[in-house]
Amino acid sequence: MGLFQKLALFLGIRKKEVNVLVIGLNNSGKSTVINHFKNDEDKASDIVPTVGFSIERFQNQNLAFTAFDMSGHGKYRDLWEHYYKDCHGIIFVVDSSDRLRLVVVKDELDILLQHPDVCNRKIPVLFFANKMDCKDALSSVKIAAGLGMDKIMDKPWHISASNALTGEGLNEGVEWLTQQIREYIVNNKF
């Protein structure tokens, strides 16, 4: 990094760029969550299942986010681990109305937390208990208990109930993530 860039960064002129990874099972609403943060002109009206992954950019509080919106389909979940190394934060989207697959979410979360690129880093993890508007949705507390999140000691985490269609609960979660990433960058860079 050049001297000028460092100076600019220090003065807060240039925006910091951070990478966040958006993961979760298929049909949990990852692309819909990301769609909410996009500018109005970029917003897609019809969300289709993501194939592979897609890259979206948005800003929050002077941080430029690059979101890797990963496909949650079983056959693409192997791709997730290749992006763990370069990301500064993880957004884990859970379909809170899908009681059947809560065990699958837990399994994927365990695999994530045991991955060598994740387990030794104090990387912030934000959970969205999405689809809170569904009538048979589980509460965020129940999901946190069901996924055994109380056992995550070494990483900052936060769960917020959300409705990605209306945007409810999303901003609150991302603000928390922004705050954590700021701290993370400060602690690691200087």
Binding site: K75, R77, L100, V104, D110, G148
Partner: protein, 588 residues
């Protein structure tokens, strides 16, 4: 949870509902996208046999029961098929109840097909017309004439009449004589056959099998009969039916019957052919999709595989009674496993004949299903005999260790040739000789082998009877004894060997035990001096037989016991019994 914990089971316990109270027959449940929204649901025909309860059609969305409706009769099978290509694609659910196939779409009944009535024998028809007009005194005579007709060709009304007591017969006839006489055969099992495309959501035809062995292939849209055939020449009652192929191109329908036959029906055939005859009753049958092999589960706890022509390829005896089978297709691993549900609540997974995994459930499964449920592709749904609904999800990371297994258990498929040495001249000469005199060589070999065994057995007997060479491996010492003399005076020579290569034996004592009424020894305790490593200490003891003659005869086995102890330790480090020969005074 550690990584090793994750590897214990390949299955995640998604849901287990002990209070579901489902009673399901074999093939009484399906997984289908019944709402057309991509969210696959479980459709169950819940059989209730008690007189005051009705059977129900239940639909589960994930873990929740979303629809529950009563059925008019006891269901025998549930099938699901796409009746048309119209968008959005919503499959129909077909339930066979008695004589009817009831079709439901979007959980609403919308079509019904009844199997056509069968011809009635002329005599029976005549008897019932006479019942209408004649008086009661003819009744017994007419009923007797019904008995001349073969029982299984009678209508159910006449069959019941014949089973009634003579005094009840008149009421029965009065009640039913004005109704039209019809003969039906109820549907026993059903399946679906894809019509012209092998896509999973293409149009498929329901295939029904009735108790007398008629097969009906129906048009899915208007439920008219497209093809009708009989299962077999002989009497055959279908119990399990499976279809593969396409109706418009070529298809194979395999029917397992209660008589233990498996019959094949192909395109254009009006009558099925027997492919194979199982030795006992058939419990369930599945067809492997790739090679059309027939997998049969029979009552004698056996899982067997037959080729499509009916020749037996392999069979595997299992520990428990099999109750149901299912195919477990794993596209991402490009293989299909066979799920075998067994009595006692275990489900074994086989890849051809090789056991790969097992799942345990609380109770004996009555129906097994594997497929897409909700958004998940690999879901194993089990309904047990006590009504438990159990849902397990296959982990994404499960690979069933196929790479290891295929090399370990299949020497036929070894790619690498074994490292055999080149054939030497000696080998060639030997093989030439073997070809010339095979019988003699074999006999010689057998003789030598028997002799070798005899020698080995003799040596064993000798070593067991012989006291020479008692040892202690831990202490590395060995004691051997030799008895010299004919009696009444013997000399006992004892050799104590130190087998330890680098440590000397010190502070040892040898103690002798014997019956003082029989023997008298020169020493009873012998202190042993230092025995250097690898050397032998030799001790000599005089033994005198002091017993009287008649006592010898009573107790032929007389022995002297030897113990070696170290220091003041009370536990001997070595003990031996030396059998003394009897004193034969006659020789002297």
């Amino acid at each position: 949870m550690s990584r090793s914990d994750l590897n214990i089971s390949r299955w995640l316990d998604a849901h287990s509902d002990r209070g579901a109270g489902l009673q399901v027959l074999l093939n009484g449940a399906v997984l289908a996208d019944v709402a057309g929204d991509g969210d696959h649901r479980l459709v169950v025909a819940d059989v209730k046999l008690q007189p005051d309860t009705r059977s129900r059609l239940k639909v589960y969305r994930g873990t929740l029961l979303t629809s529950d409706q009563t059925l008019p009769d006891i269901p025998s099978a549930v099938i699901t098929f796409y009746p048309d290509n119209l968008e959005p694609k919503v499959p129909a659910v077909g339930i066979t109840c008695g004589l009817d196939l009831l079709m439901y779409k979007n959980n609403k009944p919308y079509f019904k097909f009844s199997v056509p009535s069968l011809p009635i024998s002329a005599l029976e028809d005549e008897v019932w017309t006479k019942f209408k007009h004649k008086n009661e005194h003819d009744l017994t005579q007419l009923v007797d004439s019904l008995k001349t007709v073969p029982y299984n060709t009678l209508t159910s009304r006449s069959q019941k009449l014949l089973l009634l007591k003579p005094e009840d017969a008149a009421d029965f006839v009065d009640k039913f004589k004005d109704k039209e006489l019809k003969r039906y055969s109820p549907i026993t099992c059903a399946t679906t056959l894809q019509r012209n495309s092998s896509e999973w959501n293409s149009v498929s035809c329901p295939v029904l099998a009735t108790e007398i062995g008629q097969i009906y292939i129906l048009d899915p849209q208007n439920l008219s009969i497209l093809h009708q055939a009989s299962v077999s020449v002989s009497k055959a009652t279908p119990s399990v039916i499976r279809a593969i192929g396409l109706f418009d191109v070529e298809y194979r329908i395999l029917i397992a019957t209660r008589e233990g036959l498996v019959c094949l029906l192909r395109r254009g055939w009006l009558e099925g052919r027997n492919v194979l005859q199982a030795t006992t009753y058939i419990v369930d049958m599945v067809i492997m999709p790739a090679d059309n092999f027939i997998i049969l589960a029979t009552m004698d706890k056996t899982l067997s595989c037959y080729s499509k022509k009916g020749s037996k390829l392999w069979s595997q005896e299992l520990k428990q009674q099999i109750t149901c089978l299912t195919l477990v297709p794993l596209k991402h691993l490009s293989m299909t496993l066979i799920g075998v549900g067994m009595k006692g609540g275990s489900i074994h997974l086989y890849r051809t004949r090789h056991f790969v995994d097992y799942v345990s459930i609380p109770d004996t499964p009555s129906s097994l299903l594997f497929g897409k449920m909700g958004q998940e592709d690999h879901v194993l749904v089990t309904i047990t005999t006590s009504g438990i609904l159990d849902i397990k999800i296959l982990k994404r990371t499960a690979d069933f260790n196929l790479t290891q297994q295929s090399t370990a258990s299949n020497p036929i498929l070894q790619n690498k040739p074994l490292p055999l040495p080149k054939r030497s001249k000696l080998f060639l000469e030997q093989s030439a000789r073997e070809r010339q005199n095979p019988i003699e060589m074999h006999q010689h070999f057998q003789q030598d082998l028997i002799r070798l065994r005899l020698n080995a057995a003799r040596a064993l007997v000798q070593s067991q009877g012989d006291q020479t060479g008692v040892g202690n491996d831990k202490e590395l010492i060995k004691l051997s004894a030799q008895v010299l003399g004919l009696g009444p005076k013997f000399t006992l020579i004892l050799n104590l060997e130190n087998m330890n290569g680098d440590k000397a034996l010190i502070d040892l004592t040898m103690i002798f035990h014997c019956k003082s009424s029989i023997y008298q020894l020169s020493h009873y305790v012998l202190r042993i001096p230092l025995v250097p490593p690898g050397l032998i200490y030799k001790a000599e003891i005089k033994v005198e037989d002091v017993s009287s003659d008649d006592f010898q005869g009573q107790n032929p086995v007389q022995s002297v016991k030897v113990f070696c102890t170290r220091g003041d330790d009370t536990h001997p480090i070595l003990a031996a019994t030396i059998n003394m020969p009897p004193t034969d005074l006659n020789i002297i």
